[in-house]
């Protein structure tokens, strides 16, 4: 905007001046000069684990793109028709219009199968990215004050994504999706007091009725995406407003952000990363078949195939319903008989309790540790053994449930009795999480101790020295004197310290000059920073 203040050679001045003119025109109308600059200048820290949220974001974008394409061909109707499309094996079979239109997309629309598979793979990636992103937020303490609100929004986003996935899976009205809906119906029935009314109202009568696919469709393409989009917006706005957390390291304090300004580096990397996520989904969709509904046949109440599995993110609930013992409570009140279905505990209570625990975790931790300060520096998981242990416990719980959701497949593949698998799951669910806690806690303490040893005695060099008395000892390279642990990553290998000079690049002939020896002798006790920014940052910046 201010380039014109500088005189320059004509050839160079001409282009900027036209730009400047356009810029001034825009600014006269929008007064955007200074907010725009602030936006361009915003600093983002860089770390691979900060990309996980982005994977979720970009898969969501791919979902919107491919999903819009699918709506142009999908017919959310349960009307009975006889299939006459080009897939020969199902010609003449009675099915719903929804199922027939899915076959149509797969066989009779150019590239339709590719887009369908991209949509499904993107959904799987979306949920995987969300779960891993959630774990990174948890294990690094990124949810602490002031980011509790974003954690809460995140938990809601997880459930929205779950519902988006489940409703999408239900749309084609094939044997698997109908079975999924049937179980969902049974879980609704299991809700005390209002269950039958709830199920009857959503399905407009007994299962399956004639409207459920249409209602699920509206939820899937309108209500849920809208809510998700709104919450993602709020989520990102908060990340923007509160500024991203950063790892502790040289020059990084609780009151600053060290990184790159958003434009151009960070923004360009984001665009590139979107392309990479998109590419991954395209490759998956092209090379790996997913949800071949034409093999399952249309949904019929009396038919189900063996080893029918829901998508991976539903399997933990499938597992909990499989493992939960057959407990049904029947009781009478005022002469009426009431029933608590066996699905109530694993299908209603368990997800409810998990959600409440997750929503409450940041506040519980705050209450228990009495830590009300603002935290902008991430914690290394080893430095918070209790939280890391709890997280390991939760992950173990989730993994056992997920495996149990496919225990028939596991039993068959490994020739184990199914009953044994079920019992292993039940016992494992009680014993393994506490064990995971114990082990993780110990490992964290061990890692802490090792870090402090390195700080005190130096890095192992791998060089063995023979002492005059014949003993062999390993030479340690001290990092400095009186170093305190400050939450930074501690170097453990010689080459992290630059013991070996980096090779000069070039295959046949050198294409760069070897680096000149540093002018300032000691590069402060911080030559280990991951991003390689350490050597340059000023040492007079306070450390914590």
């Amino acid at each position: 905007m201010s380039t014109t203040t500088e005189p320059g050679p004509r050839a160079k001045a001409e282009r900027p001046s036209r730009l400047a003119h356009a810029g001034r025109n825009a600014d006269e109308r929008l007064q955007a000069a200074s907010p725009l600059r602030t936006l361009l200048n915003k600093v983002f820290p860089d770390h691979w684990s900060f990309l996980l949220g982005e994977v979720a974001l970009w898969s969501f974008v791919v979902l919107l793109l491919t999903g819009t394409f699918l709506t142009l061909f999908f017919d959310p109707s349960m009307e009975h028709i006889v299939y006459e499309g080009s897939y020969t094996a199902l010609r003449g079979v009675e099915m719903s219009a929804a199922y027939a239109s899915t076959l149509h997309i797969s066989f009779d629309v150019r590239g339709g199968l590719f887009i369908r598979q991209m949509h499904h793979w993107a959904a799987l990636l979306f949920l995987a990215a969300i779960v891993v992103h959630l774990l990174r937020i948890f294990f690094t303490g990124a949810f602490r004050k002031p980011r509790e609100m974003n954690w809460v929004i995140g938990v809601l986003l997880f459930w929205l994504a779950f519902l988006l996935g489940f409703t999408g899976y239900s749309l084609p009205d094939d044997a698997l999706s109908g079975t999924g809906l049937r179980i969902a119906h049974a879980i609704m029935l299991a809700v005390p007091v209002i269950g039958t009314w709830l199920a009857s109202s959503l399905f407009d009568g007994p299962f399956p009725g004639e409207v459920i696919i249409f209602r699920v469709y509206i939820a899937h393409v309108f209500i849920l995406p809208l809510l998700t989009l709104g919450l993602i917006g709020a989520h990102l706005a908060l990340v923007f407003k509160q500024k991203h957390t950063q790892w502790a390291g040289p020059g990084r304090t609780n009151t600053n952000v060290v990184g790159e300004r958003m434009v151009p580096r960070y923004a360009a990397k984001m665009v590139a990363f979107f392309l990479v996520v998109f590419a991954t989904i395209a490759l998956l969709a092209g090379l790996f078949q997913i949800n071949p509904v034409w093999l399952f046949g249309p949904y019929k109440a009396a038919v189900v195939s063996v080893a029918s599995q829901p998508d991976w993110y539903v399997m933990f609930l499938e597992g909990s319903t499989r493992l939960f013992p057959a407990w049904e409570t029947r009781f009478s009140l005022f002469g009426e008989h009431f029933t608590l279905s066996p699905l109530f505990w694993p299908g209603v209570v368990l997800p409810g309790v998990l959600t409440v625990l997750m929503l409450a975790y940041p506040f519980l931790e705050q209450r228990i540790t009495k830590d009300n300060r603002i935290h902008n520096l991430l914690q290394r998981p080893r430095d918070v053994p209790v939280r890391t242990g709890l997280g390991a416990m939760a992950v173990t719980f989730f993994v056992i449930l997920t495996i149990s959701g496919a225990n028939d497949v596991v039993a068959k593949s490994f020739d184990i009795s199914l009953n044994a698998m079920t019992w292993a799951g039940r016992i494992g669910l009680i014993i393994l999480p506490p064990l995971a806690y114990y082990i993780t806690h110990r490992v964290c303490l061990g890692l802490q101790q090792h870090d402090r040893e390195v700080l005190a005695h130096g890095v192992e060099t791998g060089i063995i020295k023979r002492m005059p008395d014949g003993r062999f000892v390993e030479v340690h390279q001290p990092l400095g004197t009186d170093l305190e642990y400050t939450g930074w990553a501690v170097p453990k290998k010689m080459n992290r310290l630059g013991a070996l000079a980096p090779a000069v690049r070039g295959f046949f002939v050198p294409i760069e000059r070897p680096a000149a020896p540093p002018e300032v002798a000691p590069p402060a006790p911080n030559g280990h920073d991951d991003t390689g920014t350490g050597e340059h940052t000023r040492t007079d910046v306070e450390r914590r």
């Binding site: 201010s2 380039t3 203040t5 500088e6 320059g8 160079k12 200048n41 915003k42 080009s86 020969t88 590239g111 079975t179 179980i183 049974a186 879980i187 299991a190 039958t196 009314w197 007994p206 299962f207 399956p208 500024k243 020059g251 609780n254 009151t255 600053n256 060290v258 300004r261 360009a268 990397k269 590139a272 998109f278 590419a279 490759l283 092209g286 949904y299 109440a301 009396a302 038919v303 189900v304 080893a307 029918s308 499938e318 319903t321 057959a326 049904e328 008989h337 009431f338 029933t339 279905s341 699905l343 603002i374 028939d408 079920t422 294409i511 760069e512 920014t533 340059h536 940052t537 000023r538």
Partner: protein, 398 residues
């Protein structure tokens, strides 16, 4: 490359290595002579609370390394373009229509989707790689430090905003005017109901409202309490057991130790409209039938026909069809959560999460010798009969 060049013009400093520590922190006069473009950039950053502490070229400008990197970026872009073009060519000209019976392992149509995936994936991936390489290898390396301004707003601002807010409340005088308070509550409540009514009210459906077919038969029976086997759906006559294609079934149609899925022989009886009705008709071996007959529940007395028995095919757990028939153990296994039902003992659940036995469908023969759902009463008359208990998953009022 323009970004790179511009750094070397007279507009900017040739950004050296580490910048002077203090340089970025003090305000500069942007009108002073000799102020470069980069000085302005830094001044802008400074006004945003940002200090650019490192700003240096990644590669020696004009060096071999730079030229080589430039070439590889250009190559990546070119390859991306090639892959993209390949995608478009394949999309349009690769045979994509399903060839029906002519499909064999080598038919080109089989490779349509993989070819699309590989070409599009490559194009996007190469484009991404080109941009990343450009940014990471050619753009100047930068470290910027932005100060956070976390804490609460200034106390002054807090007070002013609080006053503005309380003033709003005060202006309305709602605190001083209890009459208005009550009136608002009275007036707004119906409004809230009005907002909720069309949404919830339109959706609500009484689970006990009978099916139109039942209503036509003049019976006020809630859909949970009957299935398609109810004689009222067949003008009061016992309902025939039929195959999925609608043909009725004689005892001789089912071989010993054989089984067949049966549906009520009424209009729409084989469709999902009567999704709770399907049953599994089993022809037991003599010794097995005797074993079952020896331990029939009272409820199931008289429901077998000879060595034939029919169980509901809707799992009492969550409603899947427990249709895996294990011959050796005489178990019915539900594929959804692995409940196992003992065929020779009233289809009692013996493993897994199901809590109730599968309902037994009373079997009899009509005068043409076809299976029907019904029992023969003491007077020797055939009366149609549904399952004797509700089938499928448990629910609250059950």
């Amino acid at each position: 490359m323009s970004a790179q060049e511009s750094l070397e013009t007279e507009h900017g400093p040739r950004p050296g290595t580490t910048l002077e520590p203090a340089a970025g922190t003090a305000e500069i006069d942007i009108n002073a002579p000799g102020v470069t473009r980069f000085d302005l950039v830094r001044e802008g950053a400074r006004r945003d609370g940002i200090e650019i502490v490192v700003y240096e070229p990644r590669v020696e400008p004009g060096s071999r390394l730079e030229r080589r990197t430039e070439r590889s970026v250009a190559l990546l872009f070119a390859l991306a373009g090639l892959a993209g073009a390949a995608f478009i060519v394949a999309y349009i000209w690769w045979p994509w229509e399903y060839p029906g019976t002519e499909l064999n392992a080598f038919h080109l149509q089989r490779f349509y989707t993989p070819v699309l995936g590989v070409t599009l994936g490559l194009a996007l991936f190469l484009l991404g790689a080109a941009i990343i390489t450009w940014v990471k290898k050619l753009l100047p390396h930068e470290v910027a430090i932005e100060q956070r301004h976390d804490g609460p707003s200034a106390e002054e601002d807090q007070r002013i905003t609080a006053a503005t807010l309380t003033n709003v409340v005060d202006e309305s005088g709602i605190m001083r005017r209890p009459l208005l308070k009550g009136a608002i509550a009275l007036g707004a409540l119906p409004l809230a109901v009005i907002a909720a009514a069309p949404i919830i009210g339109g959706l609500i459906r009484d689970p006990h409202r009978p099916l139109p077919e039942m209503e036509a038969a003049g019976l006020d029976l809630s859909p949970q309490d009957h299935t398609g086997w109810h004689p009222a759906l067949n003008d009061g006559n016992p309902v025939r057991l039929v195959h999925e294609n609608g043909t009725p079934i004689r005892p001789a149609d089912v071989a010993v130790a054989g089984q067949v899925t049966v549906f009520p022989g009424i209009p729409r009886g084989t469709t999902n409209y009567y999704a709770d009705s399907p049953a599994l008709l089993i022809h037991l071996r003599q010794e097995h039938a005797d074993e079952l007959r020896g331990q029939l529940y009272e409820l199931n007395e008289g429901s077998m026909y000879g060595n034939y028995v029919a169980y509901s095919k809707i799992c009492t757990h969550a409603g899947c069809p427990p249709s895996l028939y294990e011959q050796q153990t005489n178990m019915l296994l539900c594929p959804c959560h692995q409940s196992q039902f003992e065929i020779l003992n009233n289809a009692r659940p013996v493993f897994g999460p199901a809590t109730r036995s599968l309902a037994m469908l009373p079997l009899a023969l009509d005068d043409e010798g076809y299976f029907v759902a019904g029992t023969v009463n003491d007077a020797g008359e055939l009366v149609g009969s549904d399952f004797k208990v509700p089938v499928g998953p448990s629910y609250w009022e059950r």
